[in-house]
Amino acid sequence: MKVKVLSGDHAVAHAVKLCKVDVIPTYPITPQTLIIEKISDFIFDGEFDATFMHADSEHSAMSMAVGASATGVRTFTATASQGLALMHEMLYVAPQTRLPIVMANVNRSLGAGSGIWAEYNDSMPERESGWMQVYVEDCQEAMDAIIQAYRVAEDHRVMLPMMVCLDAFVLSHTVEKVLVPEQSEVDAFLPRFRPMNYLDTSNPKFINIAVSPAHSMEMRYQMDHLMRGVAPFIDEVDEEFSKMFGRRYGGVIEEYRMEDADYALMTLGTATSTARVAVDELRAEGRKVGLIKLRFMRPFPHERLRRALEHVKAFGVFDRSISMNGFGPVFTEARNSLYGTGVPVTDHIAGIGGRDLTVQMFKEMFQRIEDSVKGGGRDCYWHGLRGEQI
């Protein structure tokens, strides 16, 4: 194991190299560019034996990834924001063709009123596509999540693509101490990719052809059934990862100071680190608060979440994106998980467009959560708005 100082993007690039990825179609977009630049450095310097492809757009990059993966090779690409949106059509092809492509998405705001800073409004709409989605908290987790992603995605019980999501700039361009595993350790953890169905002239098969209503509904049902059952594999891989590398992330969710918590908040991405400080400070004041780190948006950890929240009096969800109808997408999912339990759930939207998240802001969220047991409040709050909240 080596200790290096790496940005989140460079940690991803190192992980891709360690995973011995075969084909890497690429297209540049801020703030993902550092990933493909670093990978191109590795390949052009002869340090990494992989096929680097210069795509003409993100749509083409994902199309190339689909083509390459369909021949049975390990495939990686990276994108962000507008690029992910341009890929939208092809995103649906990868899972329904059962291609275990891994892609890094550096979360960034999308569309008009656009910026290049952290927000999840790019990847959240893609939760319907059939991709698994993991949101990472720091540079170490960015690296480890890529290694875990291939292990989960290529498992014959899964065979689905995975999106590793990291916050723009807060993570992509910020350097941290990262423990880089030895190649032999990664090799021992991640076996060679054994494809199931692939394009091979010695055994001709049809991959993704036109399907009539007589069969397509069953195919969708099977996909849904598959995604519902993936969470235990993720937990299992995280457990094995911890044995090999000494680090664990809790699988689909991680619980922090939840043992006797009365009030809990769920966060994802880099916000989790800030929220941890808020929890520690509130605990020091004697407040019984806890934190749940949501790692996977797909598969969404409905069961684990219900279990983790069995004893809480109130629960809040942090959202760094908005569904333009009053709620954020994470809240909508989480409230589904808790339906019927009677636990009050509030939505806490903050950090939109890269707006700074402060410890104070998370303390305010906990205050709202505590207040929610009394009833009468709203179920959605925006934190950190300039001027008075409406």
Binding site: D22, V23, P25, T51, M53, H54, A55, D56, S57, H59, S60, A61, S63, M64, A65, V66, G67, A68, S69, A70, T71, G72, V73, T75, E89, M90, V93, T97, L199, D200, T201, P204, K205, F206, I207, N208, I209, A210, V211, S212, H215
Partner: protein, 319 residues
């Protein structure tokens, strides 16, 4: 490759089997079948959304004997590049071919096509050109010729048919300096087979542009398909040539130009055309004819409209 292929000596094994769902007289199915016969069983096929996809591959049956994949409309150039990269990575030498229609090539797929050409990826891109979006019911494409009826260039009270000429796609491809690009006609099988074989023997990006008459979209009799393909060449609506490492070579030159009217009158899509519109199309063909068959006569400086017209008249006198 010892002897040049002819229809007698060509491989007879079909990779596109009978029983597929193409219309009777479909030029596209003939083109695909003959390309695949020459490429043989060690071939992987990609098709975008198209007639070809629909008539050859509907779950759970298929008419293709070789591996096949589909994903979307605009990405033939990109997907075949990815397939090729994956195969080469594993040391496999299978041919990778994408069959895309004119809409998927001239219009929505132009960017991915251009990307693959610029990277010189080791693929064969075949454009099966029936001059409209036939799979969606005959809408105008960048390939539709001037004057043609389509469902989006209808014969209206004010405007009749398409008002623009067909995009010169081969010039776009040629400008990218690819190892091999050629135009083919199903009515010239010897020329057809020789070009497919040549493309098969090369590495890097290869492009075949095949005219494929369409009975439903052109409103023609199924039995007329070959005659139409032949007349397209004789009238100058289609030119047979190849560009190999930058050198252009005409592979068939009609003895004399047949008036385009002979070609138009066989097709329902042109039956409304006015005398003026036919003249406009004829002039365009004459210009194209000169460009292809008499390149030395092409002036390096732009001519005035007057000069241009007088040259066209001279051409017409020779018919």
């Amino acid at each position: 490759m010892s002897k040049q292929l002819t229809i007698r000596t060509m491989p007879q094994e079909d990779m596109l089997t009978s029983g597929h769902g193409a219309c009777g007289g479909c030029g596209l199915s003939t083109a695909v079948n003959n390309v695949l016969r020459v490429l043989g069983p060690d071939t992987i096929v990609y098709a975008p959304a198209s007639c070809f996809l629909v008539f050859s591959a509907q779950y759970p049956i298929s008419a293709l004997k070789v591996p096949f994949i589909y994903s979307a409309f605009e990405n033939t150039g990109a997907v075949i590049s990815g397939i090729s990269a994956g195969l080469r990575r594993q040391g496999k030498a299978s041919y990778v071919v994408g069959f895309a229609g004119d809409g998927g090539t001239f219009d929505i797929g132009l960017q991915a096509l251009s990307g693959a050409a610029e990277r010189n990826d080791d693929v064969l891109y075949v454009c099966v050109d029936n001059e409209a979006y036939m799979n969606t019911g005959t809408q105008r494409s960048g390939s539709t010729p001037f004057g043609a009826w389509t469902t989006t260039t209808p014969v209206g009270k004010v405007i009749q048919g398409k008002r623009q000429h067909k995009k010169d796609l081969m010039s776009v491809i040629a400008a990218q300096e690819v190892p091999y690009a050629a135009t083919l006609s199903i009515a010239h099988p010897g020329d057809f087979l020789r070009k497919v074989e040549k493309a098969k023997g090369k590495r890097g990006f290869r492009f075949l542009h095949i005219m494929t008459p369409c009975t439903s979209g052109w409103k023609t009799e199924p039995s007329a398909t070959y005659e139409l393909a032949r007349l397209a060449v004789e009238t100058g609506m289609w030119t047979l040539y190849e560009i190999e490492d930058g050198a252009k070579r005409i592979t068939y030159r009609p003895k004399e130009m047949v008036p385009v009217e002979n070609y138009l009158k066989m097709q329902g899509r042109f039956k409304h055309m006015s005398k003026e519109d036919i003249e406009t199309l004829q002039k365009w063909i004459c210009k194209k004819w000169k460009m292809h068959y008499e390149p030395d006569m092409v002036s390096p400086v732009p001519r005035s409209e007057e000069e241009e017209l007088s040259m066209v008249e001279e051409d017409n006198e020779g018919i």
